[in-house]
């Protein structure tokens, strides 16, 4: 998602820390969404046993791989569109 975090040549120490913080927040947010989505798609809510069964385990593993792949696809697409517009803000309807 480097398009989200373009590097400027000269930034202050506070800005550098804030940027690193924003990146960590982003990864952390992605992780919690992944947990949400993959748990929903893979874990049987009947809870018949306390352990993950084989099917659930395999599903979770593949779900993570697919979630990453989707993230890369979306990121590439947005990056492409951002370049087409050449630096204009307001990708979304704005606010």
């Amino acid at each position: 998602m480097s398009f989200l975090f373009g590097r400027q040549p000269q930034i202050s120490s506070e800005q550098k820390i804030a940027q690193a913080e924003a990146e960590i927040d982003m990864v952390s947010d992605m992780y919690s969404r992944l947990v949400q989505s993959c748990s929903k798609k893979c874990i049987d809510t009947a809870y018949r046993e306390a352990d993950l069964n084989k099917g659930e385990s395999v599903c979770l593993d593949r779900c993570v791989a697919k979630f990453f792949e989707v993230n890369v696809k979306v990121s590439e697409k947005m990056q492409g569109e951002a370049q087409n517009r050449a630096g204009g803000g307001g990708m979304f309807g704005g606010m």
């Binding site: 924003a22 992605m30 979306v74 697409k77």
Partner: protein, 90 residues
Amino acid sequence: MESLTQSEQRELQNRMEKKQMKEFMNMYSNLVQRCFDDCINGFESKSLTSREEGCIMRCVDKHMKGSQRLGDRFQEQNAAMAQSGGALGR
């Protein structure tokens, strides 16, 4: 909005800029999650099928256009309301 002095407006502006990055990142994550949830439903393999990939691309496109449209309408409504003296954006 209450009438703010110029320096107050500058301070407000500053705070808003910090939030915009956050909001954009949130929009982005929402888009990833929504399209993942809507398009990915089989886990027979760990790679996207071409059908899933096509779905993701169209999903992103459609939701970006949708947000654009919703944003335009939202601003129109909000402006109309502000003029008629009413709620929300003021």
